[in-house]
């Protein structure tokens, strides 16, 4: 079964056509990367899945977890968790108070609320951060955002650029959390950071100029990807000449072999460990 089916959706803001007849499916229990440049229409698509925006009249349909999404009605939203790109909270509340408000609105069983909140705070690593949300860092807010999105154990989790505004550590934490969710829920997340896609996605769709330019499983993408240039990374230090020799012995003598400069990201991660 598909967790999400989008068929022939268009959306214009005034004269500008943001989405032009897009269709794609997201199978259950996968991590789906929704890739596109800034302004490609990712957020617009996500807001329509949540019923926060109305597709152009008479165009297509959106089916989430087997139910049709209707604008302005929040019926399907009990099955969907949503993490906005910059989640906003009531700064005067503490995380437990906020999650308890969310739980009551989502209609959770009164007895299970406390346990569920502790479980989620544990998952996102905020168990000890019991200060007012107003004093939270961006990364902490994002993690609390994941917790609030998961409060009602949704079948579908939609994250709008969850990592874009974060430092490398914050990004890694969010991606690790999303990876843990995989299997319990379907995750759709939009991003323009391709490295994130490679780390956790099973399937991807690329949105370009309001159309789906590419949709595929990551595995298929990789099999298809024969290339003249491949970069390798090892767990331990190796001798470049040795690598070239081994390859040559298999009939794949490299035309060029150079030692990669260490990426700033890896240096940063190591330095602040």
């Amino acid at each position: 079964m598909n967790a999400l089916e989008i068929k022939g959706i268009s959306k214009s803001f005034g004269q500008k056509k943001v989405l032009d007849d897009i269709s794609f499916q997201v199978p259950e229990n996968c991590v789906f990367g929704f890739i596109g440049a800034n302004g490609a229409g990712k957020t617009t698509t996500m807001k329509m899945i949540l019923g926060l925006l109305k597709p152009d009249n008479g165009t297509g349909s959106i089916i989430a977890c087997g139910e049709k999404v209707a604008f302005g009605s929040s019926k399907t939203n009990r099955l969907i968790g949503y993490l906005p790109d910059v989640p906003e909270f009531y700064g005067y509340m503490r995380p437990k108070e906020y999650l308890s408000l969310c739980a009551e609105i989502a209609g959770l069983d009164k007895k299970s609320i406390k346990g569920r909140i502790n479980e989620l705070l544990e998952l996102v690593g905020l168990s000890d951060a019991n200060k007012k949300i107003g004093g939270y860092s961006r990364g902490m807010k994002q993690r609390l955002g994941v917790a609030q999105a998961l409060i009602s154990e949704p079948k579908l989790l939609i994250c709008d650029e969850p990592t874009s505004a974060l430092d490398p550590i914050g990004r890694k934490e969010i991606l690790d959390i999303l990876r843990q969710i995989k299997g319990k829920a379907t995750v759709v997340f939009s991003t323009h950071i391709l490295a994130d896609v490679e780390r956790i996605c099973d399937r991807v769709a690329v949105l370009n100029k309001g159309k789906i330019a590419l949709e595929s499983a990551i595995g298929e993408l990789k099999v298809d990807r024969k290339s003249k240039s491949i970069s390798l990374e090892f767990d331990k230090e190796v001798d470049a000449d040795e690598v070239a020799r081994v390859l040559a012995s298999k009939g794949m003598a490299p035309a060029k072999c150079e030692i990669a400069e260490r990426s700033i990201e890896s240096l940063f991660l190591e330095a602040v460990k």
């Binding site: 926060l52 302005g72 009990r78 906005p84 909270f89 009531y90 005067y92 108070e97 969310c102 609105i105």
Partner: protein, 254 residues
Amino acid sequence: MIRQFQALSKKEFYESAATFRLYILLAVFLLFGMLSPLIAKATPDLLAAIDTGMVIEMPEPTALDSWTQFFKNVAQMGMIILVILYSGIMSNEFSKGTLVNLLTKGLSRSVVILAKFVAASIVWLASYLICLGTCWAYTIYFWGSVEISNAFLTFAAPWLFGEILIALLMLGGTIFSNVYGSLFTCFAAVVVLNAISLIPKASRYNPASLAGGTLALIAGAGEPSQFIPAMVVGAVLAAGLVVATIEVFKRKRV
């Protein structure tokens, strides 16, 4: 629905306390309640203290003077403070985007508006009752027991006018998504209502008279039936504004 309503009104009360709005309102109206009788009582002495060389003949102040002060304070400064403190009731949520998380959890949009309106109304009622109770107590203390004719009608009128103002702020905030939109809608409506009261025939039905106009009733000068049409129009107007806010919000992009 009922649970969502409870959860959200709890949040509203918590917010009022956490942002000090509740305490400011209660304190200001407590002050008005105390000041009104005090000012009435002290005015002749104050005037006497200022030696202007003129002889001002002041009648001995009565309980009625105390109530005149009460209506003046509540209807003018009180309403202005109420409006300023509640100007962000909707617009803060929109400008910060704090409703997005809650709406995407299936929170009904009607519940948002109703819970906010009811919570604000209760805070307003509590502030108003404190003001009224204090004023009443001081007035009895200074002038002994006072007969008030048509007390309920008289004192319900300013509260009802406050309700109309809260509903206006909510409608304006929902339409314009910012504080200025809220304030503009509220002040524009009050100007229109006051303009209408220039037409003699319409003034009987005009809710603008609710703010301080029922004072005549206490003095025993007016007939309750004169004010009932304005009360009914006011209640219908407040309810209509809340319904309109819900309808606007349902169509709004969040």
